[in-house]
């Protein structure tokens, strides 16, 4: 079945440093979604990417979808303590399946 791999598993950064998490799917995706989960909380939708090579920005967050629609990345510029949490990518395979497959997530710690 489809697998979604995400690296790194953990990332500790100094406040103000940048952060990037990478996501790779074993199969081509119809779209990819990104979620953030705060400690003790539930996943909260951040964004969805659909088109090959798509880049979307939300303030300090930049999301990319690879040309082959098999990989994606989330980059945070100048991290803040409010960015703390686990960032999950979740891929939708398409071809009649709408089953989101989540990556294992990257847990971000920001040292003030």
């Amino acid at each position: 079945g489809q697998q979604v791999m995400q690296i790194p598993q953990y990332q500790h950064v100094q406040e103000g440093e940048d952060f990037t998490t990478y996501c790779n799917s074993s199969t081509t995706l119809s779209n990819i979604q990104w979620y953030k989960q705060r400690p003790g909380g539930h996943p909260v939708f951040l964004i969805q990417l659909v088109k090959s090579g798509e880049v979307k920005k939300q303030k300090r967050l930049t999301f990319q979808f690879g040309e082959a629609k098999k990989n994606s990345s989330l980059h945070i510029t100048a991290t803040q303590t409010t960015d703390v949490g686990t960032y999950f990518c979740a891929g939708l395979p398409g071809a009649g399946s709408y089953q989101l497959t989540f990556g294992k997530g990257t847990k971000l710690s920001v040292i003030p």
Binding site: F45, L92, Y98, Q99, F102
Partner: protein, 114 residues
């Protein structure tokens, strides 16, 4: 802002017992989902539900699991005979559309099987 609600927030049960986890999806949403997350691990899809029937289910969703929409607002997940390995956080989610649409997650029910 509308939100998905789940009850109870924490359920403790003995192995072999039946549990029912309840969810109230966002009112105008048509697609409903259950996920589970074992402590410290990734979110895993269990089942999706539309038009009063299961759309898709994962390998995890075996005969011990069932879902139901007993009325116009509730969406339930039943585990017939709980096992120790069923201990996890169970999230309900709903979406307005099936594809290309965000899923709104509830706060979760933490299930502990003793």
């Amino acid at each position: 802002e509308p939100e998905v609600t789940q009850t109870p927030s924490h359920q403790v049960t003995q192995m072999g017992q039946e549990v029912i986890l309840r969810c109230v999806p966002i009112s105008n949403h048509l697609y409903f989902y259950w996920y589970r997350q074992i402590l410290g691990q990734k979110v895993e899809f269990l089942v999706s539900f539309y038009n009063n029937e299961i759309s898709e289910k994962s390998e995890i969703f075996d005969d011990q699991f069932s879902v139901e929409r007993p009325d116009g607002s509730n969406f339930t997940l039943k585990i017939r005979s709980t096992k120790l390995e069923d201990s996890a956080m169970y999230f309900c989610a709903s979406s307005e559309l099936k594809t290309y649409n965000e899923q709104f997650f509830g706060p979760g029910t933490r299930l502990t099987v003793l």
